[in-house]
Amino acid sequence: MSGGSDERIPVGPQHPSLKEPANFMLDVDGEEITGADLTLSYNHRGMEEAAQRKDYLQNIYLLERICGICSHSHTTAYVQAVEELMDVEVPDRAKYIRTLIGELERLHSHLLWLGVGGHEMGFDTLWHYAWRDRELVLDSLEELTGNRVHYAINTLGGVREDVEEDQFPMLRENLEEVKERAAYYAEVVPEEETVLMRCEDVGVISRETASELCAVGPTARASGVPTDVRKEDPYAAYDQLDFDVITHTDGDLLARVIVRLEEIVESCKIVEQVLDDMPEGDITGANRPTHTLSNMVEEGEAISRYEAPRGEDLHYVKSDGTDTPERVKVRAPTMANWPTVVEGLKGSYIADTPMIVAGIDPCISCTARIGVEVTGDAAVSIDGGDRKLSLDDLSDYAKDWYGQEVN
């Protein structure tokens, strides 16, 4: 994929502008990027293998730790899949609580991203403002669940903790402020001259490219692809809520900023509806002691989709009828958005790299599964290094490693 230049600049795997180990090789001509290579998964976390060694209930807490930001997304996607196998009906109140936490999570994730984006473009004041406002959301989450980041609210068949009516006023108050701040940023940020200089027409992904590369979440929506699992395949309480899918047509970084800011406002509206309509009733549909829940899972397989703050999160669970899953496969949203980064980098300036990478709100370690080189021969490298194996070798290696019989 390299162009006609002779200088290559490595970005990552350890790089101060990336908080996680992504690895790019940029071919540059002066300040312009002529080509980009991406190496995924410098850091293999072995989450899926670990999931095969724990029972269904324990896995909730393991998978919650795939990501520090979309922790609720991963657990919800996972429990939805397992609930399908358990054949258990989740009560409405539990669905509303899941929606509530999910939207609060989207709020804090988008505000976090706004701060990171601000920092990457050298606008540290925006960063500190966004993160200050994010505290309001984190406080709300702490009030509701007892935790700021890993809420641990999901369980098989429902949620672990109920919400109280007297928590609502504080929530509404915080949200009102967040909404106000988001509306203010949505008004001010796109008019700031230096922000425009850095974001307008940078890293443009056309609607066609976004569809072709199967982009998800705000990245796709900023390019005008109205994809949103909450609308396409409603889960939790989303089929009973009224909200818009925010899209933008420009597909540049500025569009991604605007889409996320408007989604903050939209999320606030969703949370208000959830608080207004919160139904009475049980919070779990499985009328059994918690520790026996894992035994309810029947043989079969299930796929669950969830609209995480960063896009569609997909969990696949295969059960052999025991209390531990036979296979859990996670496709984090960042995985689907990586190709757009490579596409967006070409023709940009080196200076835009952090912004373009940050533009998809990447969660690199969530994505990390196995080292696959995008370029090179049809071989796979382990640890992203020189040790390359063919696909068959890799299969043998995996079976060997996992202690199964080699076919």
Binding site: P10, P16, D124, W127, H128, Y129, T194, I350, A351, T353
Partner: protein, 321 residues
């Protein structure tokens, strides 16, 4: 006696000892105000000093691939430049420590030395990030130097002198002239911001892109010296601009003597520092070619208009020119 006095000027006041203290004070004001604007607490007053001491105690590595001599000398070279520059800027009275016709040009030259030091040090440290950083430092230098020179030419033309002290005292007598020079002051401020590589013109060190640019390989003492050079350059640059555009130590040195003059100097430097810190907080970082564009599209134009204003005002006899 005269030699002893020269030594005092160089090493104590307004030279090294004073400047290093003032540099830390300015760094503190900059960081504290920046933090306040961002709704943070900010560092305590001794933080800049503590940071400096800490760096001094750290190992100062010279990369194997680096050109050792250049790498080691570069920080001293930059520091020497700014320390010399202060000798021609009036700090306490109507006269600088040394003054002669043409010292304005010398100070302009001395103030660009830190950028060259940064370039030499960064380039010879043989690191890809510092390669990009130094190229940007140089590119930006071409952007801001011309408008900076043009802007500083305006007060010199207005006062018909190439001596900073004379320019200062002449202009201080006619407040209207200072008002007429405001566009030049604006260009001077922008250029100083770019010279110091601060937001929005911090592309050369862009920590989130090229990890600090030219200084990537520097550590310990040498890094501390570079930081100190930047702080001192801030003080000298601010003092230089306030002497040319704000009347420098006037009017207090006429009222309360050297102490009054120094207070006026300090207040005006503080004023420039506050302005540039607010600018730093209010913007995002522009790309290098955008930054050069800002200077050639706007700053040069404004500076030339400023010169025309001075010429017109002088021929019409306005503002005591």
């Amino acid at each position: 006696m005269s030699f002893a006095m020269d030594l005092v000027y160089l090493l104590v006041f307004p030279g090294f000892l004073f400047l290093s203290t003032a540099g830390m004070a300015v760094q503190y004001v900059d960081r504290k105000l920046y933090a306040k604007v961002q709704n943070r607490v900010g560092p305590p007053a001794v933080q800049p000093f503590a940071d400096f001491l800490k760096l001094l105690s750290k190992e100062s590595i010279v990369p194997e691939a680096a050109e050792r001599d250049v790498f080691v000398v570069a920080p001293l070279f930059g520091l020497a430049g700014v320390l010399t520059a202060i000798l021609y800027v009036p700090v306490w009275g109507a006269e600088a420590a040394f003054a002669f016709q043409g010292d304005l040009v010398v100070v302009l030259f001395l103030l660009s030395i830190p950028s060259f030091a940064l370039f030499f040090g960064g380039w010879h440290s043989r690191n890809r990030f510092s390669d990009v950083g130094t190229l940007r430092t140089l590119t930006q230098l071409f952007g801001y130097e011309v408008p900076f020179f043009l802007a500083c030419l305006a007060p010199a033309m207005a006062a018909q002198s190439w001596e900073i002290s004379t320019v200062m005292t002449t202009l201080a007598e006619s407040p209207l002239a200072l008002v007429l020079l405001l566009p030049g002051f604006f260009v001077g401020l922008l250029s100083l911001q770019a010279k110091l590589e601060r937001v929005p013109f911090d592309a050369p060190e862009a920590e989130s892109e090229i990890v600090g640019g030219a200084l990537v390989e520097y550590s310990g003492r040498k890094l501390a010296l570079f930081h100190m050079t930047k702080d001192i350059e801030f003080v000298v640059g601010a003092g230089f601009l306030s002497a040319l555009f704000l009347g420098g130590t006037a009017p207090l040195y006429g009222i309360a003597g050297p102490v009054g003059g120094f207070v006026a100097f300090a207040l005006k430097v503080l004023f420039v520092v506050v302005l540039l810190t607010v600018v730093k907080a209010a913007f995002a970082r522009v790309r290098i070619e955008q930054s050069v564009g800002v200077f050639y599209k706007w700053a040069v134009g404004i500076a030339i208009v400023q010169l025309l204003i001075v010429i017109a005002a002088a021929s019409a006899g306005i503002g005591g020119l």
